[in-house]
């Protein structure tokens, strides 16, 4: 990659189980406002933001073309607005393309999702399946994850006890992150005793229902210093699609994650992923996904997820200092929230959970059932 693109600002609402007191429009404006204030960026057609990339989902928002509702709240009146509707981390990938193409100097990204608005997020994800073969069986992202969890645990030796450790670690980190949703500390015993909602997934293995929004300002290399003295550089991004039908794919093969990671690492010049990152944010909607995605990302050996947990690797590798998805982000912006944490860490603004001297970070996002689609982002502070 010749020219570079910087993340010059990041804001998040903080995440909550039910932000019933706000329309999602206000949720978004709550974070657009400080970006304008802190960076001094304008919406001038010649020198300011001409294009805004939103990220949301029509079914969760219960509105056809829900970005139509966002135009005023994200500053897009008489400006461009393009909606990426998959995990919001892909809006960063698309924003990167907008700037590298030369078409735009500055891109504002605003992702939002209010899972609490609908009666059940599982009903929403059931609608991601085809109407004849999978939808009638009641498949949703949770029960399909449970199938993947069983297959992964059988293959890798990850046990219920390991998963308890993953959740406890997430809560420990989240307790230090004021933006996280689930911040109460848990003991392993509490996790092990929580009800089995979808065997082998327990209630405390699931990310909590969450509302919130994330915004970022992307700027071309030449102009990054106009907006910040702490730019964070996007050095690699890629994603990859796996099979739709569950039976078609190796549920534990991490096919699309491995491919996405390989392409992102190649672009970023990462040769030894297990050693190069100062921190890693993985999009773990369910506890088994933390070790499984880490394997797919090449951050521990194949089948070594349990060893990583046993050896305290979650801590030493600085996995999910934010608390991760397990501490609660809404589905549509899980990966975008991971990227936000990575940017905050690389800017040295993570407060009590700061990884000292963090220079290189990985953020991961996933969309679809059992990780059908994965996205990998590599960020550098230098």
């Amino acid at each position: 990659m010749g020219k570079r693109v910087a993340v010059c600002a990041v804001e998040q609402t903080g995440f909550f189980t039910n932000l019933w007191q706000k329309r999602f429009q206000e949720m978004a404006f709550d974070i657009v406002e400080p970006i304008i204030r802190k960076t001094g960026v304008t919406f001038d057609m010649a020198t300011g933001i001409r294009n805004i990339i939103t990220c949301s989902d029509d079914v969760f928002d219960a509105r056809t073309i829900s970005d139509n509702a966002m135009t005023d709240a994200v500053g897009a009146h008489y400006r461009g607005e393009e909606k990426v509707t998959m995990d919001g981390i892909n809006a960063i990938g698309y924003g990167l393309a907008c700037v590298l193409s030369g078409h735009d100097d500055i891109i504002l990204i605003v992702g939002h999702c209010k899972e609490s608005q609908s009666e059940s997020r599982d009903m929403v994800t059931n609608l991601a399946f085809d109407p004849f073969y999978y939808r009638p069986l009641g498949l949703d992202f949770k029960n399909v994850a449970a199938l993947q969890a069983r297959a992964y645990m059988n293959k890798s030796g990850v046990t219920d006890e390991h998963l308890a450790k993953v959740v406890v670690n997430s809560r420990k980190n989240a307790a230090l992150n004021p933006a996280a949703n689930a911040r109460e500390l848990l003991t392993e015993e509490q996790v092990l005793k929580s009800p089995m909602t979808c065997d082998p997934i327990r209630l405390l293995h699931e990310y909590p229902v969450s509302d919130g929004a994330v915004a970022m300002l992307l700027v071309c290399e030449e102009r990054a210093s106009e907006f910040t003295d702490k730019p964070v550089w996007i050095s690699g991004f890629a994603n990859c699609m796996d099979s739709y039908f569950l039976g078609d794919k190796d549920l534990v093969g991490n096919f699309s994650l491995k491919k996405a990671a390989e392409r992102a690492y190649r672009k970023a010049g990462v040769k030894n992923p297990a050693e190069e990152f100062d921190l890693v944010e993985v999009n773990d909607c369910f506890a088994y996904q933390t070790p499984m995605w880490l394997e797919g990302l090449g951050l521990c050996g194949e089948g070594k997820g349990s060893a990583l947990i046993d050896g305290g690797g979650l801590k030493t590798c600085n996995v999910n200092k934010s608390g991760g998805m397990l501490a609660g982000n809404p589905l549509m912006i899980g990966g975008l929230a991971r990227a936000a944490e990575a940017v905050i860490q690389l800017r040295g603004e993570a407060g009590d959970r700061q990884v000292e001297g963090a220079k290189k970070a990985l953020a991961h996002g996933t969309t679809g059932a059992a990780g059908q689609f994965h996205s990998v982002l590599v960020l550098d502070s230098e």
Binding site: G138, L147, R150, I201
Partner: protein, 159 residues
Amino acid sequence: MARQKLRQKDDKHEHCYIRDGKLALPYQYFAGRVGSRFLIALRDKKQILGVKCEKCNRVFVPPRQRCERCMEDLSDSWVELSDTGELTNYTVVNYEDKHLPRKPPYILAMIKLGGADTPLPHILEGIEPGKVELGMKVKAVFADETTNTILDVDHFEPV
């Protein structure tokens, strides 16, 4: 239509309310020629069909017009599958929701039918959740009434 009043979830937030509403619209989905053939065989002949990709040498179920890997046309390469198969994976669904076909707890399983290379998700009944074992043989039980969906197999049960 009489509407309910706006309601507040707590009194900490002045002027903030919830209105109960719906996202509700009518839809009609077409199975297409390939899907119809599969669904009609299921309904009228109690037959489970798969499609075979000669290039990849794999038999898929549910059917699809194209092989996802090599994009070959599979619409004329039907294979009759056995109505019995082997359980390759399962979960016990223990939460209740409107989109689910059964009250909890019930077993959602992956079943590799005889003649197929890809397992099919379906409901398993007739066995205690604690007694389910990977590799066990199960058999399709066809539904009495058709819904023109995969639920024309009502469930699978142990042989």
